[in-house]
Symmetry: C3
Subunit: 202 residues, 3 copies
């Protein structure tokens, strides 16, 4: 339980940072706008997962620590703005770790609620990507998963690996580790070699 | 129960096809993007209805057959892409049958949960149109129900007929038949004669 | 209970009017489009609050009076269209009172459900602003809270005052009065003197 909780708080904080950066790049927002977008980005995916699963109370409604993780992320973004802006490689790493963690935790939560594994993998992916999708819809952007599609499909691949390892009784922390690693490696390779999925209509 | 289930699966499959076609027309998407949009179009309306009604578990979360109906629809879209693209009349028929079925099933489900009939009719309409609305929001289109308004109002008319027939004790399959027929006829006439509703401000 | 109910119905009606006006200004909509947008604007914020809190049944699903309040608002908008259009000052007052009432009622409802006060204030704000946000997303506008940011932050300030007064045992109607007054005064001053919050990145 402990490691799960720390991963979830950390992922929430990373998401808030990434939301705040996107909000401020789009147009020069005030404090409130940036905080709101950071907040929505951080809680959106998990909320949609829990609402679809009917799993109440929502994590952040029940435990105010998630809110503080978000505020902490926003504050750090402000304090180290130009530092963070310049480090695009580090930002990529944090963003990737964030979606990887959320995918695996979301998949696990759905499995705990007894849904079909295929549904659980979809729930994991939605946890990871829907925060960014809502962020993009609110700021009138084309949603992220139609711009860089390996994004969400990397999550699906990681969720699938998690379910396979879990099925074969692999110890949970190892399941976490290898699935998060797979998502990260796929995203790294996709960006490095500019990989894309095949077009629907050839 | 049986006929209801088959109608719902069939409607879900039709919606996935229509979502996939729209997604791919908008811009040449990859497999993942098209599948995601097909999925959202197919499950969006019913999910919003169930979330608003607090009716858990959501249909597609509980029964993985809906997911397979979606994947089947996407696969068919790919295999018969140019065939389906050319048959705009047949596509119109499938689309109309899809929204008609979803409207009636949504209205019936809401009634079974004991809400006021006016609310039930709205829930039926939302089941039918919100999948397309979410699809349009995600792809940055003006939502379908502000472009062709007879669309959603046809659903409301069909839902109302269903409620009236049901109130007077008409046998259920006959209720289904006549309400679905009404929605289809209204849409057909609206498109054929280019009918529109009166403007709000004359 | 009584005053709470009347405030909520009145606020719902005000929101429907404001939604209908925005929908019709954007492009000349038909009756259905205007009614739909008025409806979504009026029930959106409260629905999101209740869905996030898992508080079922949703207010308007349970009590059809809210629907009639919306239809009444739309009808009034039509009957007195040019009158309402011209009175921008009065519209501002109604709009401000609407968001102020929704903020306080939403905050109170969340507190009654036992959440942390910080979460309750956020729920109050979301009740007030999300209807307008959904309206703007559906009509492809930049959401209201990124255009006039003192809007949502005024709600947060009012919710905070409500929680402080309530904490110190102030009588409920007085809590209502002073919090609604604060939100109104902040919005008035912000518009009058064109105040904005500080930018995130100076």
């Amino acid at each position: 339980m402990q490691i799960q909780y720390i991963l979830e708080l950390t992922g929430t904080c990373f998401f808030a940072v990434s939301g705040a950066l996107v909000a401020n790049k789009k147009s020069e927002q005030d404090w409130f706008g940036v905080t709101f977008i950071g907040f929505i980005t951080a809680i959106g995916g998990g909320s949609i997962r829990d609402i679809l699963l009917g799993s109440y109370p929502l994590v952040w409604v029940d435990d105010v620590a998630f809110l503080y993780a978000i505020f902490f992320g926003i504050l750090m973004t402000r304090l180290f703005y130009s530092f963070i802006q310049k480090r695009s490689k580090e930002r990529f790493i944090f963003d990737t770790l964030g979606i990887a963690m959320f995918t695996i935790l979301g998949t696990e939560k759905a499995m705990d609620l007894g849904v079909n594994p295929v549904i659980a993998a979809i729930m994991g992916m939605l946890s990871a990507v829907m925060g960014g999708v809502i962020r993009d819809v609110l700021t009138n952007e084309i949603p992220v998963l139609f711009r860089k599609e390996v994004y969400a499909s990397a999550c699906l691949a990681g969720a699938t690996l998690y379910l396979v390892l879990d099925y074969f009784g692999v110890e949970r922390n190892a399941c976490y580790f290898f699935s998060i690693l797979l998502i990260s490696v796929i995203r790294y390779l996709a960006v490095k070699f500019n990989l894309t999925l095949p077009k629907f209509k050839v």
